[in-house]
Subunit: 347 residues, 2 copies
């Protein structure tokens, strides 16, 4: 069974983008009502948006289940204020919940948090609880830089985050640390800001005692960990110079990497240097790179193909990477995954 | 012959740091004179600072020549104003010039630029000219983020940089794109800000027509290119999606990567995905990682050992990576390199 831990609803019906455009436009209008409003999206439109896209690729590539969250670039926490972010996050999460209700065998929900620059991370707790307890979501996406490329808020290891981390631990849900759209012209969103966010987050976690305070807190770093596995020797050396424990005994007890690396050599490096216990399969389809690699004739984002092609990777490692780690890191997935396995066996 | 294109004077005599501390302290004193002042460093102190460090490692590791510049984290362009930065850069560059005069066979100078947030990049031209024309320096280090982690200035592709680029082209000197110390608490300097700077700079160059305007402008991206080679498929795909030429026919005509990658798997990836014409040997000794890798028993930063160990790398590629590319990218190096080769042959 293959679980993809990193999927976003990038193909949502156009009413969602229209809602957001209205919401952002209203920010400049002092007379705007600023109510939550409604999206006006029908179930058939949701089905249509998925059948030709994510569901087709699941069938074609043999993915049983996708951990599905709102579009990462769309989170846009830097826009408006905490109310803006709350209304927007609620709509995005409710839409993902509808997806998961329509296709319970194919998708498990991961929520966007209503972060906002200057607002306390604790203000995200009610939406996290709603998504986990009422919708059955299995994790959340946490933006380490809600300022959108100016990095002006507290570090991930700051105590400002602790109330949210406490609730994550109680609910037993991990967070994928994923930045959103960059509004800093220096950073191309998919070509720099995402990867910089991954690298930055890892280094913050390496150089902290956060996991002494939260031994069971778990973070997934997307995009193959940004620059980290490529510079694994650098990080092992920095940890040693800082007097930190070896990475495998330290930060890797709580930190995981996904496999969103879009060529075989990069994937082979990831699987060579990062222990199999710390790698979760992902492709992020209909994401940052949607074309076909002219050197292979296959889509860049068909990450399973790269892994399948790495002959030295053992069966036990494959089992962990393709599904067992996901079920361990996202414990609330277990029931859904069991249901998937039953329907696969019956098929 | 082995040329290391990335060395900093990290072991300079303590008077240099004391000067900088005074200079920064004086910024808060409205009555301070703010004159350039003097360092008071003797030639013997310079010799001593190098003999036990960079020169010892050159001998031990078989490096003929190091491209030597002031300490990268020490540039600190965010501190003070343009006058602060001019005095500090002049001192740092003059000290490197003394190193290169004392050891002309071992070091070739690369200058720090007196950048300052808000100041025009054109204000760096006089110091660049002085270092190249009077001191015989062969290149410069250009900081893509003089704000020190807030990324508030113009992008590298902004026309504000054009006067400096014009002069670089006329002088036929490349720039290594190297950030300095981070004053943003999110970014560990060596563990995040350097690598993020590399990744950010590459993506800015990929997504621009800068090299149509400057066909002979050359940039070296340090630290093995940040996250870029690991995500080479992602960048090939993004370039394709953006309608840019393939990387090998586009940005790689003007952009090079060094080999500061501190473990064998990362080095093998770099050499597998980046054409040999675009890779310049470097180790950055007495740099970010100074310890011994317990898994190999050798220093993390002994990058030549990783390359030597990669059996499939051909002799022609080794020749390019170890010295031919450096001489091509830094043409002013040719005379110095020829002198080194003669003294190696005589030894």
């Amino acid at each position: 069974m293959v679980i993809d831990c990193h999927g976003h609803y990038t193909t949502s019906p156009p009413q969602l983008a229209a809602y957001r455009a209205r919401q952002v436009r209203d920010l400049a209008d002092p007379h705007a009502l600023r109510s939550k409003g409604a999206l006006g999206i029908g179930d058939d439109e949701i089905r249509e948006s998925l059948e030709a896209h994510q569901l087709r690729l699941q069938r074609e590539r043999g993915t049983a289940l996708t951990l599905f969250s709102p579009r990462a670039a769309g989170m846009g926490h830097h826009l408006g204020d905490a109310t803006t972010s709350r209304h927007w996050s609620e709509h995005c999460n409710e839409l993902v919940h509808r997806v998961c209700t329509l296709y319970p065998d194919n998708f498990a929900g991961v929520c966007q948090l209503p972060q906002s620059p200057g607002a306390s991370p604790a203000s995200c707790i009610p939406e996290l609880e709603r998504c986990v307890n009422e919708f059955g979501f299995v994790g959340c996406n946490l933006n380490p830089d809600p300022s959108g490329g100016y990095w002006s808020g507290p570090r991930l290891t700051d105590r400002a985050w602790y109330p949210l981390y406490e609730r994550m631990v109680e609910l037993d849900v991990p967070a994928m640390l994923h930045t959103s759209q960059s509004c800093n012209p220096h950073f191309h969103t998919a070509g720099a800001h995402y990867l910089n966010g991954d690298t930055t987050a890892f280094m913050q976690l390496l150089d902290s005692d956060l996991f002494a305070d939260f031994p069971t807190l778990r973070f997934v770093i997307p995009h193959g960990g940004g620059a980290v596995p490529y510079h694994w020797g650098r990080y092992r050396g920095i940890a040693q110079d800082l007097g930190r424990p070896p990475l495998a005994d330290g930060v890797l007890r709580n930190v995981y990497f996904d496999t969103c690396v879009y060529h075989r050599p990069g994937m082979a490096l990831l699987l060579e240097v990062i222990p199999a216990d710390n790698v979760l399969f992902a492709a992020e389809v209909f994401g940052a790179v949607q074309g076909v690699d002219p050197t292979t004739g296959h889509p860049f984002d068909d990450t399973k193909r790269y892994i399948d092609d790495i002959g030295w990777l053992g069966e036990d490692a494959r089992r962990k990477i393709f599904h067992a780690n996901a079920i361990r890191v996202y414990p609330r997935l277990a029931r859904r995954a069991a249901a998937c396995a039953r329907s696969e066996a019956a098929a």
